[in-house]
């Protein structure tokens, strides 16, 4: 936290390398978050670039009462939402094969690999069937291992509301899964 603040001070003084250090620190976790949100590595990379550029351009508006990580996630969510708006609201998120398990690297029998990637495909479609309202807190919860308080801060809602939304997301996923597989039970 303190480290980030020192870097931000340096950035404000015109030290662009300090910004590079921040990018290094946050790029993978934000990338992970965006990949799970969009289902596409390619789109995530574009979004992420935009996120950092926005952060840099607005660094003077960063309020150090928030954690930098909270702030950058908020920007990421805003940029993601703009992207969704552009790519069409009802368009289903396309899934790069890259996001799925790398089947060529799978060991053991191909049947197992196939099953695993089928399972993943199903999980992705279940996650994508959620509304952003539940999807974002759920993904934050796991991808980053965020506390509910942090999720609340990022989304501007209370800790309780964040917890409720994550729980609701899990419930909806279970329910939809059960509906799809009712015959199996």
């Amino acid at each position: 936290m303190q480290e980030d603040l020192t870097k931000i001070k340096r950035i404000k003084n015109g030290d662009i390398d300090a910004f590079g250090e921040l990018v290094d620190k946050y790029r993978n976790r934000l990338f992970g978050f965006l990949v799970k949100m969009t289902g596409s590595r390619h789109d995530s990379e574009e979004i992420l670039q935009e996120v950092f550029i926005r952060a840099y351009s607005n660094i003077d508006r960063y309020d150090d009462r928030w954690m930098f990580s909270t702030w950058i996630y908020r920007i990421a969510i805003n940029v993601y939402k703009n992207y969704r708006r552009k790519t069409g609201r009802y368009k289903t998120v396309s899934m790069d094969d890259a996001v799925l398990v790398d089947s060529s690297a799978g060991e053991g029998n191909p049947e197992h690999v196939y099953e695993k990637s089928e399972r993943q495909r199903e999980l992705i479609s279940l996650i994508n069937s959620l509304k952003d309202k539940q999807r974002i807190p759920l993904i934050l919860k796991y991808v980053r291992n965020c506390s509910y308080a942090e999720i609340g801060d990022i989304l501007g809602i209370s800790e309780e509301a964040a917890k409720m939304r994550v729980m609701r997301a899990r419930k909806i996923i279970c329910k939809k899964y059960m509906e799809r597989h009712r015959g199996d039970f």
Binding site: F52, N58, V143, I157, R170
Partner: protein, 456 residues
């Protein structure tokens, strides 16, 4: 198998928020129950998939810095970059001056755009200006000239919203239809003796329609004077939202309190626009069977009697021949559950006779309580009169205990009062109370009282 684990149970188990004993019980259950194991595997796979890390190309940072340095994304920081990296060379200064002048014009014209975009940034919730005229709407409003305006008001039980109609001619005296609708909601429904809908003292600070969203900016009385109760809250919000979304140019309603978005109203998430809710509307065509109304009314009377421990009153609703059966955990055990006859109900609370009502979940100890203590613990142990959901004749599996109410009470009506759990207890403190009514000679009588809560 009698019990199933809920998503809440499994989540607590996975997060380690259970006692050793609970963990053991859940583990044993998972070994035995295929359905719960499926659910558990699903949640585990979900977690593992989401936890899988993704790595971006290692030269990503370089690319970001490069594009910043090359000013494709110019901003107020550029002067600093240029200072530090000393790109100004005397030979090129004339060209650069030319470029800078051009950029100044360019960004001057972009300034407004930037300001607008800034609204997207964190911490800048869109607010509605309440300064000039109190009402500001899209010009599309003027084109709309419906013959009548449909308004929705909560029904007296705060379960539904009911439409009422006003001739649009009345709206002529108002600046806009949006304002007219608000005033009408404020006055209340004509058919129910004008019970005010909007919390007292609420002022409409402004109303603006933008991109299909109606921003309704209200004074803080809307929150402060809210009479409370989540059922009321639901119908209140839905009557406003449904009334506004009757207008063709409004799709959603975003509430603002004193110009700001608010996280929650008192129960509902409030910082996102509300969509229309058709399912809560009751019209003549969609009016429930009179029977349902009757059961709903009876339910409230029975709950009130339990709440007040008014056994004399309660006895009026109990089945004259069958009496009423009490089940502590939803699962009805016809041979074991205590059944009290109509006559005995009246004097049930007199004396200190201890009954055996069944077995505590978890410990398995017998539930040996006086009727009074039983009612406090296994009937009206929560404010069911202010239930979050009232469910009529519908099986609602809460995931824990198998629900055999419809098998046991065939041909009966079941009304369930459900209270959501609070986040403090991970939602596990939810409660439900079901009342079962059976018909005799055209009247409906209470035959079952089923309590339900989180069980292992």
């Amino acid at each position: 198998m009698r019990f199933h684990l809920s998503v809440e149970d499994l989540s607590s188990y996975m997060e380690g928020n259970v006692t050793d004993r609970e963990r053991e019980k859940i583990r044993i259950h998972l070994d035995e129950c295929r359905l719960c194991r499926e659910k558990y595997d699903l949640l585990m796979d979900l977690e593992n998939y989401l936890r899988d890390e993704d790595y971006i190309d290692s030269d990503f940072t370089e690319r970001v810095i490069y594009s910043l340095k090359n000013g494709k994304h110019s901003n107020n920081r550029n002067k600093n970059i240029k200072r530090k990296y000393g790109v100004l060379k005397p030979v090129f200064s004339a060209i650069l001056i030319f470029v800078f002048v051009g950029a100044a014009f360019y960004f001057g014209s972009k300034y407004d755009t930037f300001r607008r975009n800034a609204a997207d940034e964190p911490g800048n919730q869109p607010t509605v200006q309440a300064t000039q005229a109190p009402v500001k709407t899209d010009s599309t409003t003027e084109k709309i000239n419906p013959e009548r305006v449909t308004l929705y008001f909560p029904d007296p039980y705060a379960e539904y919203v009911v439409p009422e109609y006003r001739t649009a001619a009345l709206a002529k005296d108002y600046e806009s239809l949006e304002l007219f609708i608000f005033r009408q909601l404020q006055e209340g429904p004509e058919e129910q003796g004008k019970v005010p809908v909007i919390p007292e003292g609420t002022k409409l600070l402004s109303v603006e329609v933008k991109d299909g969203i109606c921003y309704l900016n209200l004074s803080r009385e809307f929150v402060e004077n809210n009479p409370g109760g989540s059922a009321y809250e639901t119908v209140l919000i839905n009557s406003i939202v449904n009334s506004y979304t009757e207008l063709p140019h409004i799709e959603k309603v975003q509430f603002l309190i004193e110009g700001e978005k608010r996280e929650v109203y008192s129960h509902m998430v409030f910082d996102e626009p509300f969509e229309r809710n058709e399912s809560i509307i009751r019209t003549a065509e969609k009016t429930p069977e009179p029977e349902e109304n009757r059961i709903r009314e009876l339910g409230i009377k029975v709950l009130t009697a339990f709440k007040n421990k008014d056994m004399q009153e309660l006895s009026r609703y109990v089945h004259p021949e069958k009496g009423v059966r009490f089940s502590p955990y939803t699962y009805v055990e016809t041979d074991k559950d205590v059944v009290i006859s109509r006559e005995d109900i009246i004097t049930l609370l007199d004396g200190n006779k201890v009954y055996n009502w069944g077995f505590y979940d978890g410990s398995g100890d017998p539930i040996e309580l006086t009727p009074e203590k039983y009612i406090e613990r296994f009937v009206y142990d929560r404010d069911f009169l202010n239930a979050d959901e009232i469910i009529y004749d519908e099986q609602f599996d809460r995931g824990n205990t198998i629900n055999n109410v419809f098998e046991v009470y065939k041909g009966c009506h079941v009304i369930e009062y459900y209270l959501e759990g609070t986040p403090e207890y991970d939602g596990m403190d939810w409660r439900s109370l079901k009342l079962v009514f059976e018909e005799k000679d055209g009247y409906w009588y209470l035959v079952g009282v089923l309590h339900d809560e989180w069980t292992i």
